[in-house]
Symmetry: C2
Subunit: 141 residues, 2 copies
Amino acid sequence: MAANSRVTIAAHALAWMELARRRGREVLTSEEVAASVNTNAVVIRRSLGDLQRAGLVSARRGNGAGFSLGRPAAQITLLDVWLAVSPEPLLALHHSEPNLECPVGRGIRPVLADLYDEATDTFRAALARSTVADVLERILS
Amino acid sequence: MAANSRVTIAAHALAWMELARRRGREVLTSEEVAASVNTNAVVIRRSLGDLQRAGLVSARRGNGAGFSLGRPAAQITLLDVWLAVSPEPLLALHHSEPNLECPVGRGIRPVLADLYDEATDTFRAALARSTVADVLERILS
DNA sequence: CCAAACGTAACAAACTTTGTTGCTTCTACG
DNA sequence: CGTAGAAGCAACAAAGTTTGTTACGTTTGG
């Protein structure tokens, strides 16, 4: 249960919302999304809450309410999704400070942080190349 | 404590071993490495054990034993380190199977797996561009 | 033989993730 | 204007990781 499946859950929800939209259902409840993802509705509300904070979906409350896409699926990249739901860096530095009396302990953190950032940037760029619409297209083809 | 600091610990250990080597100390004990990283010697033995299994370091046991680099620091990339210590994928799929009666639930997993693999490959390629020797150079400069 | 150091198992503490329940808040609609 | 339906949210448990720690076996140079 270690790794992050939040991007997967969120991307699944968005693709399903887009498919429903094409079928004429603009708004879905968390229950309906949860049925496709096969999880609890609260888990979906939490995930879609993250996406809402990032503007990727909008939520209406009250009777007959639910979630809808905040903008066209072709304008939501997987990078947008990742940024919305994934607060953790891909690689972490030491969590207890290294020994500063050692030259390596003293100097290694900015060096690694820099290299990790570079690698993370290429990862992000790759995610930015696919949209929710692309994902749905590939699912349906 | 969520994210992976194993690459950091291992890279720190390797850079320190290389610096010690240049100073004439070919072999370091786990205690000596632990002192620089500022952690427990058993943690270092676990980490260097992973690296040893990947051929990046060698360990000698018995009296006067310790760890030494398995090949030149300029030939150990951060990708080698990552592969040696990081079994987890960067992004995970659903851990409970999605609803297979929904088109999205049925088709999304290979699509996402493919996209995640692409992004992970660029991440790996970025890590492959730096070696332990590069890291040490940047620390010392 | 024996001392030094790796190898490894076992365990606790802290933390995350997911799932779940229960309650509150909002709002469209009759 | 009340009510039902649905999001929002807090709290909690179960399971899993990570890190640190102790303890003990295993190896080997001298």
